[in-house]
Every structure is written in structure tokens, then in C-alpha cells.
């Protein structure tokens, strides 16, 4: 199979307007991936599937990723005109900026016919709240059907063109997307004999009278 760089160039040549970039991978696995803009995702996917050399006929794995909003502290240098004739006065100021997070969907593609792979596609949503729509690849690979439903259920990515986008693992009336990093679990804590860490914090909330509920024996 061609190198990722060659494939990227070929894709760029085939889809000139599309946003296609190579995402490096720092781990020894060196499985690099392609980040594709949502606009061209479906066409690129179809091309990858139907291209005779690649023949990526199987989408093995579909994953969601949650990159939460992050506060970035950055230093801003401001230069103001100083005293006339003198050098400008440069003041450094730290400011925090909210870097909006996003949701990402990762597709692992393999070729059963040519026994090669993986080619990894990624697509990103605009943010984590309102612009969470991505094109569905279910019409390209049936194997995405349930896995995209799962990503919708647990991460909240809305797949456009999915034939049956409903919750799959949680019940229909459920609100929220549990696999997101900021998901808060329902507080169903009642009594735990061996609490520590987060559980201990919960225990303290529930039993404020017991300063540090340790491994306690139930009262007879």
C-alpha cells in the first residue's frame, strides 16, 4: 500500500477543494490518520471504498472522541507607543482564553479484498454543543450503522443521512451523553462499605455527619 503522504496527495488531487490533513501519531504504533472536512467526508469515503488499489471495503471500527473545552493560558505581548521618540513600551499580560472543544469520530478502514490497512479517517464537529453534525458513513459501509448509533448515543454526534439514528445502549428517554468527559453520573450513592477517592467525596456529601466514613461495620 502507498505511504500515507502519497495517499494524501492523491486524495488532494482527486478532491481539490476538500480539507484533508495528515494527523501524526506520537506513539510507536505510528498509525497516522487523515482528518477530513465534513463536507467531503462521504465522497472521500466512497472513493476509498471503490478505488481499485485501496479497495477499503470494510470499515472495522467507528469511535467517538471527546475533546473538552479547555482554558488556555497564554501570554500576550502588547506594545504601546512609549514616550515620543523612545522605543515602544512592551507590556506582557497573561490572559485565559477558552479553547472550544470538539467531538471527533474515527473510522478504521481495512481492505478484505487486498488484505491491507488500516487507513484511519477522522472527522471533527464544530463544537460540543450545537454544531455536532457530521455526515453518516452508513450508506458507504453498513458496519457503521450500529457503531454510529453508539457514537450518537454516548457522545452526541448527530449523523446526517443515518437511516435509523436512535439511542442504542441507553434507553430512549435518557438525557445526556455519558461518554463525554464532562458527564456527571446520576447520584445514586447509598451506602458503600469501602469508599475512597471520588466515592468518598460522594459519601461525605451523603453522610455529612460522619466526617470520614471509613470501612464501617453496619450497625447491628
Amino acid at each position: 500500500m502507498e505511504t500515507p503522504e502519497a495517499l494524501r496527495d492523491r486524495l488532494l488531487a482527486r478532491f481539490p477543494g476538500a480539507s484533508i490533513e495528515l494527523v501524526p501519531n506520537g506513539s510507536p504504533s505510528a498509525q497516522v490518520s487523515f482528518r477530513i472536512g465534513p463536507a467531503a467526508l462521504r465522497e472521500v469515503a466512497c472513493f476509498l471504498r471503490d478505488d481499485a488499489e485501496l479497495a477499503l471495503d470494510q470499515c472495522s471500527n467507528v469511535t467517538g472522541l471527546d475533546v473538552p473545552d479547555r482554558e488556555v493560558v497564554e501570554t500576550v505581548k502588547e506594545s504601546q507607543p512609549g514616550a515620543p521618540g523612545g522605543p515602544p513600551v512592551v507590556t506582557e499580560r497573561k490572559q485565559t482564553r477558552l479553547q472550544p472543544g470538539h467531538l471527533e469520530v474515527v473510522y478504521h478502514l481495512y481492505s478484505v479484498a487486498r488484505r491491507q490497512g488500516p487507513v484511519i479517517l477522522r472527522a471533527r464537529t464544530g463544537n460540543r454543543t450545537d454544531a455536532v453534525t457530521l455526515p453518516s458513513l452508513t450508506p458507504v459501509w453498513r458496519s457503521c450503522e450500529f457503531q454510529e448509533r453508539e457514537v450518537f448515543d454516548l457522545f452526541g454526534v448527530v449523523f446526517e443521512g443515518h437511516p435509523d439514528l436512535r439511542r442504542i445502549l441507553m434507553w430512549d428517554a435518557f438525557v445526556g451523553h455519558p461518554m463525554r468527559k464532562d458527564y456527571v453520573e446520576p447520584d445514586d450513592y447509598e451506602w458503600e462499605p469501602t469508599p475512597h477517592g471520588d466515592v468518598l467525596a460522594k459519601a461525605r456529601r451523603h453522610y455529612p455527619s460522619a466526617a470520614a466514613p471509613g470501612a464501617v461495620q453496619p450497625s447491628p
Binding site: 506520537g26 506513539s27 510507536p28 472522541l65 453498513r142 458496519s143 457503531q147
Partner: protein, 400 residues
Amino acid sequence: MMLPDPAATGLARVRKIEGDALGLRTPAFAPTEGAGDLLEVSLGPHHPSTHGVFRMDVVLDGERIVRLKPVFGYLHRNHEKLGEATSYLGSMPYTDRLDYLNSMTNNWAYALAVEKLAGIPVTERAEYVRVVLAELSRLLNHTCLAGFLMQDCGCSGTPLMYAFREREKILDLFESLSGSRMMCNVQRFGGCRVDPSAEWLAATRRLVDGYGAFLDEFEALLSGNEIVMARTQGVGRLPAALAVNAGITGPMLRASGVGHDLRKVDGYGVYPRFNFRVPIGRDGDVYDRYMVRMLEMRESIAILDQALRDLPGGPILDPKAKQRGLRPKAGEAYGRIEGPKGEIGFFLVSDGTGNPTRYRVRAPSFVNLTVLEDLCLGHTVADAVIILGSIDIVLGEVDR
């Protein structure tokens, strides 16, 4: 005694899914002309043949299935979320509980993914031991599957009893090696936690030598049985093109005639050193899926033979390989192996801390269920039950 082709029964194809690029989805069937009311039945989540807490919402025209919607999530126990809150080592025992019949292969797939992510080499002896354990696990899984499938066909427990009789023999081996019957937790990053002793290897050899006789008896009981053939042949046909596109892997894909086996394709571990064949079916029906597994077991016996013969000495686990407090460099890795049910993969994303920031399980039986509706449409409830049985699902893995 075969059902006629659904197309010939007056069930017309009525609906085409929009945007279906390949036209591979089997459209829903319309009920026969002049049929009475349709019956909606919910098979599961408590049902003897759903292999756990799985549910199929079916719409029946008489006994014929007009629509079938699988409903998941009754065993969704947040495996992936827990994996992101647990250290790399701490997730290993959790993987035992994914496909709880095959903790050995789950362990291996997870270890492989972490080894890829952190660049950990595996010792030679451990590679062989992994093969031995994985093939024993495959024997166990396929044996149990055949038993459960025949139970679904309406046997009064006999094949299942024989299957579990053999399963107990394999479990005894697992238990004497790892300390647990089902939740073995054997693999570690870079090798195995335990080193099989000479006695253990001898016991395994005895089991492997006797397994062929068991398979012969089991096949005498069932494979040539006219009722089994009538029930399973021609039921739930899966065409190869749909199988590949729908991400079907493992014996189910091979039963459809695609000779795709990750042991050959990826050649992970030391599999390229072994001489074995990949049986494939032609019709992709329930009988083929059953028979492919029976034949695969015979190949597993051949692999076990060679692995036990060639097992090298040396350390089982590299003492330098870090287990506790492993912090791989930021990056990601997808590792997959040929599990007994198909491609089991782990996708791990590290941000350089002690926990993975994304821990994803690519569960074969979950993806294999994609085509359940396609296989069942036009068949009867009794067929749906054995079709589900032949897909070989384990809910721990489907719902995670």
C-alpha cells in the same frame, strides 16, 4: 424440507433505504396479500434463546418475520467509561468480562493494543503460550456455541451437556494455570503473568490429543442429523458482498465464502510459523456457520499440536516491561486479533497519563449483529432464534 426463497412466497420487496450506496440492505418485506393483523412480539430481554439480555422487536405475519429491530443496552455496563478511569493494568481484568467465554483472547487483544501503543516487545515463549491459550479458547468458544445453537434448535440439552463436558476440561486447564475458570487475567504487557509448567503442557497435550474424538462424536450426533440439516440449511443466507460491507468478521464471514482470517492476514504473534488452513463455506447459511466452526476447531487442534511441539524456553515476561504505572507517550493505537467470534480490537488513545483518554472496544459480535434483520426477514421465529444463535453473540461484548 427447506423454506422456499422469500421472493417466491409472495413477500414483495417494498422499501429501499435512502442513500444506500451499494443497495446492500435487504429491504423490509411486505406482508402477504390479504393477511390479517400483524403481530408485534418482543423477543427478550428475558428469553431463553437470546443468549443473555438481548431483545428483538419483531413484527410477525403469522409466524413469518416482517420486521425485526434489535434492541441493545440491557447489559451496557460502561466498560469503556470505566476503562478511561482505570490504569492500563487495571483494565486487564475488565477485559475478561467482555466476551466472558473467551477471556484469553480478550486479554491478548488488549495486551496487543497496549504493546503497540507503548512499543513493548513480547518474549518468544509468551507468544507461543498466547497462541496455545487463544486456540484453547477458540475450541472452548466454538464447542459451546455449537451446544447453544443446538439448544436453540430445540435439543433437550444433550449437545450442550457434551459441549460443557469438554468445556470443563479446558476450564480445568485454564484454572490450574491462571487460578480462575473464566476470568483468567493472564496476559500482561510484554508477555504472560504465569508460566505454564511441564505438567500443564502435558495435560494440554492430552486434551488436544483427545479432542478430535470428541468432535467426531459430536458430529455423529448432529452434523448428519436430518432435522439439523433441514432446520439450518438455507436459513439466514448471508451474501459475501454484504458480509464484507457490514463489517462481519470471523467464522460468520468465512461461512459466506470469504477466506479472511486475521491470523493469516495480519499474521500477528507467531501465527505465520504455523501450518493451518482456513475453512470457508459457500452458502453462508446457518449450517455453514456451524460447520465452519466445527472445521475450524480441527485446525485449532493442528495449531495447538505445532505450538506445543515448538514451545521455546526462556522468560515468559520481560522483567523490564512496565506493568503498574504504565504511561505511554501521547498517541493512539488500534490493535486487533482474530478472536473466536471475529475481529476483536482495542483502540487506545493516550495523553501521556496513567489512564487512557479513550478506551474503545471493537466487539465482533456487536458489529456482526448489523445484518441480523437482513438474515431474519422472511423467515420464521424459529429461524430467527437459530440465526441469532449462529451469529454467536455474547452480550458482555455487544453492550460492553
